[in-house]
Symmetry: C4
Subunit: 189 residues, 4 copies
């Protein structure tokens, strides 16, 4: 299951780059209109990198897969598969309300899907597992959906606040969580 998910995320990351259309001109200035698409691509690349990273750790900690976990995983991949679309739409429309809100909505959908997947894996592992222990203080997983929801709301008022909130979520996850990592490192590889 991990190989399949890795494959889907790898393809999504590379398909997003297709939204960076080769410009017709040959000047450096011809790249300027691509800048917002490029920056949105960077943001989505970081998001998918975070999901791949976390998904990797979650699956490493999980040794029993049942049908519900399989479908929760596909549900997560479904939301991630919409990233190339929302990345392209938000990137081509500088801070317009609808694309900014939809970008947040898909990010929120993915965050909820990840939470559901994590909960089902935890249920399989039992409350005394190392994973349950490591995730006991999962602050990031609880704050992220709230920040996405706030971002969706701000899109209708001041869209650049939404984008700032989306970037904030990425930064929160990029900061290494030493506690989680050190505990998961104790698990067999």
């Amino acid at each position: 299951m991990e190989a399949f998910s890795d494959g889907v995320i790898a393809i999504l990351i590379t398909i997003m780059v297709l939204e960076l259309h080769v410009p017709h001109g040959t000047e450096l200035a011809d790249l300027r209109p691509l800048l917002p698409v490029f920056l949105t691509y960077v943001l989505s690349f970081v998001y998918l990198g975070i999901y791949w990273n976390n998904h990797h750790h979650l699956m490493q900690a999980s040794n029993r897969i049942n049908g519900r976990v399989l479908w929760a995983n596909l549900h997560l991949l479904f939301w991630l598969s919409l990233f190339p679309f929302t990345t392209g739409w938000m990137g081509e429309n500088h801070l317009a309300t609808a694309p900014t809100a939809i970008y947040g909505a898909v990010a929120l959908g993915a965050a909820i899907a990840y939470y559901v997947l994590q909960t089902l894996v935890l249920a399989e592992q039992g409350p005394d597992s190392l994973l349950a222990d490591a995730l006991a203080h999962d602050v990031k997983g609880k704050i992220s959906p709230l920040l996405y929801a706030a971002g969706i709301g701000f899109a209708f008022v001041i869209p650049w606040v939404s984008v700032a909130l989306y970037i904030l979520v990425a930064l929160i996850w990029l900061v290494p969580d030493r506690l989680l990592e050190s505990r998961l490192r104790a698990l067999p590889d």
Copy 2:
């Protein structure tokens, strides 16, 4: 062989999303014309998820691969590879006869190809295998082709009945088959 098939299905799932073209407008209303394409995408995503899931279980239960199984597998992947095309065609044409019938024909082709693959794997395993036992009452596998065939027929009369039948097949497979799962769980991972 499983890694290769997983790769193909993962790529097909993500290539389908390319049919969701980024709209030119920036209003939520600009997403409305995409709705049928999106819903068809959801349906095809579920189909490919089901095939991936079942294929995974089938390969897990199989430990001897010969040339005929390899080609039966490629035959299945061939039919699945046509899903992005039929998804795009049916999604862009609200309940038109030909796209609806062709969608069902490709789904029927994939169902038959899966049945052939399953039969060849079973032949390798022998009639006393756990897999043979688990698949003895394979009602879903026998009903699905009939529902697809009915869907193709209805496309020439009342196309929305076809789509309802295609959705019905997906729902039948989504309902967990506890018996099969519990028996396969007894197999070595």
Copy 3:
């Protein structure tokens, strides 16, 4: 190395299907112009399936990989990566000379690249290996380049003979080679 090659071939197979553009009309007749592209797709799908199958057996028999084998493998993947292009060009131009000749030229390039890869793997294995024994009577591998070369030549005179020769090569490889298979089956999986 096998996983990487599997990945490339899996992606090539699915990228080829993108040449099947969704038609604008909604009639079955609107599919007719797609028929040559579709048939070319089927032919190329079978070719790539054959390469995946043979490559799989070759790598299974090989347990020592050096730098030259790695690059011979990439060289093969390079020629295979041109199949989506030649498939699209030949498929859209009914039996025109240049696309038919170029299709054969790329197929010939891939066949030669496979021969080089096989020779390097054999050199690693030594003349007394099971693989050397199994490939001693590799008639298919020697006839295929000749048939491709003949196909390239006929493209300038009677192009449909070229296509017939290309199909003939595919059929030759689809017929199971019981001898090779039975000998390779003796190898550890």
Copy 4:
């Protein structure tokens, strides 16, 4: 982690070929405008092949992965993911300054990202590891960024010198490094 990286590189290699648009004409002469795109594709294919090859050796020598290595790896994949874009832009504009400079800039970014990744893996392994020993005389890794930087500079004066330098880097890496290879071969597979 290696499977994921292999997947991304495999997809990038095959996505690049999509820049080779099927021509409208049917004459061999219709391929002539594609020649610069084709040659740029060959160069980028070789680059990605080299990265895959080196990455493979690096990961083989590494047995402990931490969060920083994961992100250094994603950082490398980010730069590699821009190759299809720069390949398309440089290929379509014969020796224009900006595309040639940007091609070099992305190549330089990837080279630096690889160097960072290598340094982090080395830090995990310790100064007495076989890898540290093998990379002690890593001349190629130090010369390449300098050649890319020179290429970027020449793009503003004589662009064909830039392309010659980019080709030179590829050739340097294609020449087998017997010393590194023989030492790494001593590692467990």
